[in-house]
C-alpha cells in the first residue's frame, strides 16, 4: 500500500508561505521541460538513425526492381536517394534541416514529411487523447468507488471488468468489438462510404477499444485506489469529513490531479503504441499506419519524423503533468 509521503508536510509549508505568482512558477517549469526535451530529442533521433542504418534492407526496392539492375545502376539509384553519403553527414544534414522545420520528403510518396505528419498526426492525437481521457475517467471512477467503499457491488464489477479487459490483447478486442457491435448488433457503422472518418459512430468504437483495452486500465485503477486510500486517511480529510464538508472538493488535488497527471505522463507511450494496432484494425488513417508502412518500406525520413513526433507527444504529456502538478502545488516548482 503505497502512501505518498510528505503530503502533510508540503501542505503545511504551503500554508505558512503563501504561494506567490504561481503563473511564473508554471512558466519556469515549462522552460525546464523544454530544455530536457531538446536533450531527449537528440538522443532519441540519434538512436533511431543508427538503428535504421544498421537494419537490413534498402529503400531503393520501393523504386526499382533491385534484381534487374547492375551494381553500377544500383549505386546510381542510391546516389539519387542520397544513401551513398556517410552516416554522420546524413545525420547532420537531417538535423540541420529539422531545426529549420524541414523534415525532408517521404521516399515513398514524395510528399513533405511534415505534411504527412500533420495529416495523420491529428487523427492519432484525437484517438490517443480521447482514449487516454476515457482510461483516466474510468480508472478514477473505479478507484474512487473502491476507495470510498460506497457502492461495493458496482466497484467490484468495474474492478473485475478492468482486470479482464486489461488481459485481452488490443487487436483481438478490436475484432471482437467489430464483430459484436457492427456485425451482430449493427449498432455502429463499420464505415460509411463517403466521409467514414468523420462519422461519430466510426470514431467511438476505436476510442472505446483503445481507451479500455490498452492494457493499462487495471494497473491505473490499482495505482489510483492505493493513492486515494492513502489520501483519505490524511488528517485534513478526516477533519473535512467531520465538518461535513464536500469530500471531493478537498480530495481532488492530492487525490486526483497529482496521480492522474503522473499516470497520464507514464502511460502515454503505451497508448501511442496501442494506437498503431487499433488504427490497423479500424482502418484509421493515423500515424500508426503511416509508421507501419514506412517501416516495411524503409522510408527513413518518415520514420525519423514519426520518432520525433512521438517523442514530442510523450514529452508534451510530461509537460502537462508538471504544469498540472505545479499548479496544484506550487511548492513543487522549487
Amino acid at each position: 500500500m503505497a502512501v505518498p509521503g510528505g503530503i502533510k508536510d508540503r501542505r503545511a509549508v504551503r500554508r505558512e508561505r503563501p504561494a506567490a505568482s504561481p503563473g511564473r512558477r508554471v512558466a519556469r517549469a515549462l522552460v525546464r521541460e523544454t530544455a530536457r526535451t531538446a536533450a531527449l530529442l537528440v538522443g532519441v533521433t540519434l538512436a533511431m538513425f543508427l538503428l535504421l542504418a544498421r537494419a537490413p534492407g534498402n529503400p531503393a526496392a520501393m523504386y526499382v526492381n533491385v534484381t534487374d539492375l547492375t551494381a553500377e545502376e544500383l549505386a546510381a539509384v542510391n546516389h539519387e536517394l542520397g544513401l551513398d553519403r556517410s552516416l554522420p553527414v546524413r545525420y547532420v544534414v537531417w538535423v540541420g534541416r529539422m531545426v529549420r522545420g524541414d523534415l525532408g520528403h517521404s521516399l515513398r510518396s514524395g510528399r513533405p514529411v511534415t505534411r504527412e505528419l500533420w495529416q495523420t498526426g491529428w487523427r492519432t492525437l484525437l484517438l490517443t487523447g480521447s482514449a487516454m481521457l476515457l482510461t483516466l475517467a474510468f480508472g478514477a471512477l473505479t478507484a474512487y468507488l473502491q476507495a470510498t467503499r460506497r457502492h461495493p457491488t458496482i466497484a467490484g464489477a468495474l474492478g473485475t471488468f478492468a482486470y479482464v479487459i486489461s488481459a485481452l490483447p488490443v487487436f483481438w478486442l478490436g475484432y471482437l468489438v467489430i464483430y459484436i457491435f457492427t456485425t451482430r448488433l449493427g449498432v455502429f457503422p463499420l464505415m460509411s462510404s463517403g466521409e467514414a472518418a468523420t462519422h461519430w459512430g466510426f470514431f467511438l468504437l476505436p476510442v472505446l477499444v483503445l481507451g479500455l483495452g490498452n492494457g493499462t486500465l487495471s494497473e491505473i485503477t490499482r495505482h489510483l485506489r492505493a493513492h486515494l486510500e492513502g489520501v483519505l486517511q490524511e488528517d485534513y480529510i478526516r477533519t473535512a469529513r467531520a465538518k461535513g464538508a464536500p469530500l471531493l472538493r478537498h480530495l481532488y488535488k492530492d487525490g486526483f490531479v497529482m496521480p492522474l497527471s503522473s499516470v497520464l505522463a507514464n502511460k502515454l507511450p503505451y497508448v501511442l503504441g496501442g494506437a498503431i494496432v487499433v488504427e490497423q484494425v479500424f482502418n484509421w488513417a493515423g500515424m500508426g499506419r503511416l509508421v507501419w508502412q514506412a517501416a516495411a518500406d524503409r522510408d527513413y525520413p518518415i520514420l525519423m519524423g514519426v520518432t520525433l513526433a512521438s517523442a514530442l507527444i510523450v514529452r508534451a504529456g510530461h509537460a502537462v503533468k508538471e504544469a498540472a502538478q505545479v499548479a496544484a502545488n506550487p511548492q513543487l516548482a522549487e
Binding site: V64, A71, L107, L190, A196, A285
Partner: protein, 539 residues
C-alpha cells in the same frame, strides 16, 4: 468543404468541354451510363503516375487513368490503343506507329482539349530512360536503341535487336511531359506523381486524407465515354475488415479477396466472384551451395516427400494448380507432358539412402556415415498477413520429418529476408514466390552467370546444359523454336529440382451483382473497365 469546392469546379470545367468537342466518340454497346463503383484494396499506392508506380495497387489505378501505344485483349493479344496502326520493318527492329486522331489529355489543371502527340509519347520514353527517373520500367526499355518523330501523329521506335513480343513490351503508358516540373525526368518530389494527368477513361479528382482515390469519367475519352460516372479506390490496412466492409455494402468490389473469405462471399447472393490467375507461383528454393542440397537426389527426395495436392486442397481449398516447372500453366512455354513429381515417401527414402544418408541418428533423423546430419534451415519471409504460408511450412516440416530430414523454421522480416537470400545467400531452403512474365523469360533464374549479389539465381544453381538452353532460347526469334527449347528446359528443371515447384494460385475478385459486363485482365485488371456498367435501376 474543400471536397465540395473541387467538385463544383469540375462541373464548371466539364460542361463547356462537352459542348465544344464536336468529335466525341459515343459507344454503341447500348449499355446505360451512370452509377458509381467503390472498390477496396489492401494497402495504399505510393504514387499514381505510370512511370514511378511500383506496386500492384498503383499499377491497377494507372490502368484506369492512362493509355499506351498498344493495349491487350482479354486473351492477352496486343491490340491498338493510342496507336491506331503500326508497321514493322523487315528486319523486325523498327516499329512505325500511327497515332489515333483526336486523342486529348484529360481536361484538368488548366489543360483544355490538348491533343496528345508523338512528342508526348517520345517524351515519356525520354523520361523513363533518364538516369534521374527512378522507375522499374527502365530495364525493360533498354532494348530500345533509337526513336524519332516523323510528324505529330507518327513516330518510329528502333530496337537494339529483334525480340519476340516486342510490341507487347512497348505498352508503356504515356504522360504529358510538358506539365512536369522538369520536362526531362520525373522524381517523386514532382506533384505529378500524386496528381497525374493521362488520356484514360477515368481522371483523378482527388485523393482524400484517408487515402481514397476518387476518379471521375473522362467525357473526352478516345474510345468513348466509359459507362460508370465515378470509381473510388479505398485502401484498407486489414483484409478482414475489408471483407466486412464489402459485406456491409460499403464496397462494391474487392480486387483480390482474402482466400479464407472466399467461401463466405461465394455463398452470398449479392456478389459475383471472378477468378483470375495469380500469374505467380510458389516454390521451395534449395541453396545449391549447401553440401546436401547440391545433390540432385536430396532435392528430388524433398519433392517426393511432400503431398502438394493435399496442401493445396486443405490450405487454399484447392483453388490453384500444381506446377511441375517454372512457367505459367496454360502459357505457351509450359510443358504439359511433364507431370509434377508424385507424393511417394518410400521413393524419397530410397533416394536419400542412395545419396549416402543411411544412418539414423539418435534424434531419429538421417545422417551420413561420417555423422553429418541431414538438417536444414528454412527461411520464411514475414509478409503482410500471410497466415497460410505458416501452415504450409509447418506441414512441410512434418513431411520431411517423416522421411528423416530435419528442418528448422526461421521467420525473417521481409527486407531482412531479402538481404539474407539475395545478398548473403545465407539460407538452406527458402519459400518464395515468383511472378510470371509475359515473355516466359527464365534466363536470370537458373543461368550460372546470375548467381552474384542481388541476382535472381540466388539458389546458385549451375548446369551447363541449362545454361546452353537458356542462351539458345534467348537468341532465337522463332516463337516455335523458342517454345520447343522452353519445353525442354521445363523437362530438365523438373528432373533437376533446383526448386520444389508448388503451385500457382487463383485469385478472386468479388463484385456486387449490380456491376455488369465485368471483364478482367489478369494482372492489369482494369483494362476493360470502360465497358463495365450499372443498370439504371441499380444506380
Amino acid at each position: 468543404m474543400r471536397r465540395l469546392v473541387s467538385l463544383a469546379l469540375a462541373a464548371v470545367v466539364a460542361v463547356p468541354v462537352a459542348a465544344h468537342s464536336a468529335n466525341l466518340v459515343t459507344r454503341t454497346d447500348g449499355f446505360p451510363d451512370g452509377g458509381k463503383l467503390v472498390y477496396g484494396e489492401y494497402g495504399r499506392p505510393a504514387t499514381l503516375d505510370p512511370v514511378t508506380s511500383n506496386d500492384m495497387v498503383g499499377l491497377r489505378l494507372t490502368e484506369l487513368m492512362f493509355n499506351g501505344l498498344v493495349s491487350f485483349s482479354p486473351k492477352n493479344e496486343v491490340v491498338s490503343d493510342l496507336a491506331e496502326k503500326w508497321e514493322i520493318s523487315p528486319d523486325n527492329r523498327t516499329y512505325k506507329f500511327k497515332l489515333r486522331a483526336g486523342i486529348t489529355w484529360q481536361n484538368r489543371m488548366g489543360l483544355t482539349d490538348k491533343p496528345a502527340t508523338a512528342d508526348d509519347i517520345l517524351g515519356t520514353l525520354d523520361v523513363i530512360r533518364h538516369p534521374k527517373t527512378l522507375t522499374p520500367l527502365k530495364a525493360q526499355y533498354e532494348l530500345v536503341s533509337d526513336y524519332r518523330k516523323i510528324d505529330n501523329q507518327t513516330l518510329e521506335i528502333t530496337l537494339k535487336r529483334p525480340i519476340v513480343n516486342a510490341l507487347g513490351r512497348l505498352s508503356f503508358k504515356a504522360i504529358p511531359t510538358f506539365v512536369l516540373k522538369r520536362p526531362d525526368f520525373l522524381g517523386r518530389d514532382d506533384s505529378f506523381v500524386q496528381n497525374p494527368i493521362g488520356t484514360g477513361a477515368f481522371q483523378l479528382m482527388q485523393t482524400s486524407e484517408g487515402g481514397d482515390v476518387v476518379m471521375d469519367v473522362n467525357p473526352g475519352y478516345h474510345k468513348g465515354r466509359a459507362h460508370l460516372d465515378r470509381i473510388t479506390m479505398k485502401p484498407f490496412a486489414d483484409k478482414n475488415v475489408m471483407t466486412q466492409a464489402m459485406l456491409f455494402n460499403a464496397l462494391d468490389m474487392i480486387v483480390e479477396l482474402n482466400p479464407r473469405d472466399i467461401a463466405q462471399v461465394e455463398g452470398d447472393k449479392r456478389f459475383n466472384l471472378y477468378p483470375y490467375n495469380a500469374l505467380s507461383y510458389v516454390f521451395f528454393g534449395h541453396n545449391a551451395r549447401n553440401e546436401h542440397l547440391k545433390k540432385k537426389e536430396v532435392r528430388q527426395a524433398i519433392a517426393y516427400a511432400i503431398n502438394r495436392q493435399e496442401m493445396l486442397d486443405s490450405f487454399y481449398a484447392g483453388r490453384g494448380t500444381l506446377i511441375s516447372g517454372p512457367f505459367a500453366p496454360g502459357s505457351w512455354a509450359y510443358n504439359l507432358d511433364v507431370k509434377p513429381l508424385p507424393f511417394d515417401p518410400g521413393k524419397a527414402k530410397e533416394l536419400l539412402k542412395a545419396a549416402g544418408y543411411s544412418v539414423t541418428g539418435g534424434d531419429g533423423f538421417l545422417q551420413t556415415e561420417s555423422g553429418k546430419p541431414l538438417a536444414f534451415t528454412l527461411k520464411i519471409p514475414i509478409e503482410k498477413e500471410n497466415e497460410t504460408i505458416k501452415r504450409v511450412v509447418l506441414v512441410f516440416q512434418n513431411y520431411l520429418k517423416a522421411v528423416g530430414i530435419k528442418v528448422d523454421l526461421e521467420f525473417r522480416e521481409w527486407q531482412a529476408w531479402k538481404t539474407d537470400v539475395f545478398v548473403d545467400h545465407d539460407f538452406d531452403i527458402v519459400i518464395a514466390t515468383w511472378a510470371f512474365d509475359d515473355s516466359a523469360d527464365i534466363s536470370t533464374l537458373f543461368h550460372s552467370g546470375e548467381t552474384g549479389a542481388w541476382r535472381n539465381n540466388f539458389v546458385g544453381y549451375s548446369n551447363p546444359d541449362v545454361d546452353g538452353l537458356i542462351v539458345e532460347a534467348k537468341t532465337t526469334l522463332d516463337r516455335e523454336k523458342q517454345r520447343t527449347i522452353n519445353q525442354r528446359l521445363h523437362q530438365v528443371l523438373a528432373q533437376e529440382q533446383p526448386y520444389t515447384f508448388l503451385w500457382t494460385l487463383t485469385n478472386y475478385a468479388a463484385v456486387q451483382k449490380k456491376v455488369r459486363h465485368v471483364e478482367l485482365h489478369p494482372f492489369r485488371f482494369f483494362t476493360f473497365a470502360d465497358t463495365w456498367y450499372i443498370a439504371k435501376k441499380d444506380q
